[in-house]
């Protein structure tokens, strides 16, 4: 077994930790989002994109989180598959609907940004298509878990699917450099690519999305722990 912090590897300690950590992350998310949106809406319109630059503050964090959540999903799936870690399996299951929601949000807000800038709601461009594939992997993961009655088999099959889907992550990230693309390259992590007046609210919104995910992930894992306890108790009651 690989070493893990006790509060993450022991369900009892995890429940005690997440009880205060989930609302704390939620409060951080609200505070960061309020400041980020205030700064974002106070920034002047971009000289090329005009007021549509306001969509950047909600689209870019959703797009980055779509991949980040999948990294967590694949990592937790790996721990569950190889080390049979119960909490890791609950963490993977809990991450999937959050990742699917954020990926869908990235696709919709991207489309609403693309229409006025590119003149098209959608193009079969490498970045857009690979993000759509990412969304389909999330949906397939959720569907696979729901379709098998045997929870252990469902967890194993879904974990394998999650690890296969991880191959798509570098394609999502480097699609704009490997292929000609309408989608712009990475500007968030490139020094000087964004004027501070846009970069500051964008980083704050990125942290807000990350905190919101952290909070919701903990709440969902808690729900999974409760579900497994309820089902185990129901089984014991049926046998008694």
């Amino acid at each position: 077994m690989i070493p893990a912090p006790a509060f993450l590897s022991n369900p009892e300690r995890f429940m005690a930790f997440s009880r205060w950590a989930a609302p704390l992350f939620g409060a951080f998310a609200v505070g960061l989002a309020l400041v980020g949106l205030y700064l974002g809406w106070s920034a002047p319109p971009d000289y090329q994109q005009g007021a549509t630059v306001r969509i950047m503050f909600i689209h870019v964090p959703a797009a980055i989180m779509a991949s980040v959540v999948y990294v967590f999903l694949a990592g937790a799936s790996f721990l569950a598959l190889v080390f049979r870690h119960v909490l890791a399996d609950a963490a993977a299951e809990a991450a999937a609907p959050l990742g699917a929601g954020l990926t869908l949000l990235a696709l919709i807000t991207g489309s609403l940004w693309g229409r006025p800038m590119w003149g098209a709601w959608w193009v079969w461009d490498a970045r857009l298509t690979s993000v759509l594939v990412l969304f389909l992997f999330y949906v397939a993961y959720i569907a696979l878990r729901a379709s098998l009655d045997d929870e252990a088999k469902a967890a194993r099959a879904a974990a394998i699917l999650a690890l296969v889907g991880a191959v798509n992550l570098p394609i999502v990230h480097w699609s704009v450099t490997w292929w000609n693309s309408l989608h712009q390259g990475s500007s968030m992590f490139t020094r000087g690519a964004l004027a501070p007046v846009y970069a500051q609210p964008l980083y704050l919104m990125m942290l807000a999305y990350l905190s919101a995910f952290g909070s919701l992930w903990l709440v969902r894992i808690r729900g999974e722990v409760w579900r497994r306890r309820a089902e185990a108790a129901a089984l014991r009651a049926a046998r008694a």
């Binding site: 106070s42 002047p44 007021a51 549509t52 689209h59 609403l112 579900r227 309820a230 129901a234 014991r236």
Partner: protein, 54 residues
């Protein structure tokens, strides 16, 4: 100074923000509902009831 005047791009910017609010509402509501439902169910079994407040 906040500037809500988005001019000709209003048809794209406001729906993007509305969709964002809706998606977050669904994610938050879904997570809280899932957790509360199963907590209630788990605590309905007295033999293995969890310590209160966890």
């Amino acid at each position: 100074m906040i500037d809500f005047d988005v001019g000709k791009y209003a048809a794209f910017i406001w729906p993007a923000y509305v969709v964002t609010a809706l998606v977050f509402a669904v994610l938050i509501g879904g997570a809280l509902n899932h957790s509360r439902r199963w907590k209630k169910k788990a605590q309905s079994f007295p033999a293995k009831a969890e310590p209160a407040g966890k």
